[in-house]
């Protein structure tokens, strides 16, 4: 999937993945895509909740080994 910016949140625990995602999304313009790489298993549920509550669409949420990959579209 194409993306405009990547956020490396590996090794970071709650609430940092969400906090940094919000910040990274603020730097994008509407419609742009942010890719987030995380290792915190809690981030799966958190990203979904974040997307639902902020209106930034979660395009995909996947797990590759011990890493979690998220693609979010800036609203």
């Amino acid at each position: 999937m194409n993306y405009d910016k990547e956020l490396d949140a590996r090794g970071l625990a709650c609430p940092l993945p969400i906090v940094k995602t919000r910040k990274a999304l603020n730097d994008l313009t509407s419609g742009q895509v942010l890719r987030v790489v995380a290792t915190d298993s809690g981030s799966v549920a958190d990203m979904k909740a974040f997307a639902e509550q902020t209106g930034n669409e979660l395009l995909s949420s996947a797990q590759e080994g011990a890493t979690y990959l998220f693609y979010l579209k800036r609203r």
């Binding site: 090794g11 970071l12 625990a13 709650c14 609430p15 940092l16 969400i18 906090v19 995602t21 919000r22 290792t39 915190d40 909740a49 974040f50 509550q53 902020t54």
Partner: protein, 156 residues
Amino acid sequence: MTQKRMALIATKGTLDWAYPPFILASTAASLGYEVQIFFTFYGLQLLRKDISHIKISPLANPAMPMPVPMPVLVQALPGMEAMATMMMKNKMKSKGVASLDDLRSICIESDVKFIGCQMTVDLFEFKKEDFIPQTQFGGAAMFLGFAGDADISLFI
């Protein structure tokens, strides 16, 4: 959609109790909430400029996971508190948990408002210069003005 509000009251000053208000506040702010935290009694310690002194005591803390079982009398020995604090901080660092300083900075950057209890300052004769400049001093009535319309109100 009007902005949601979260009101937190932070009354404790130990390391384990310091995390919940800052984590909840920074997360809520990331989700678009307007957040205010009222720091009172021991919670006011969390607003000091230097918070490296915030500790955790193993004494009579049966819920604390310990590498080895430790009788209460041993927990009370000199140095145990410093050791427990150091171990907890190291553990948090190794697991990628943000430091208290970083979390507090994130809150400030996210426009979380910190209200310091004026009564506590007077009671313990604290000096306002010891606290971070972002602190607004006030009382319960001032805080209730915000909390009365909050969607989430929590006492920590």
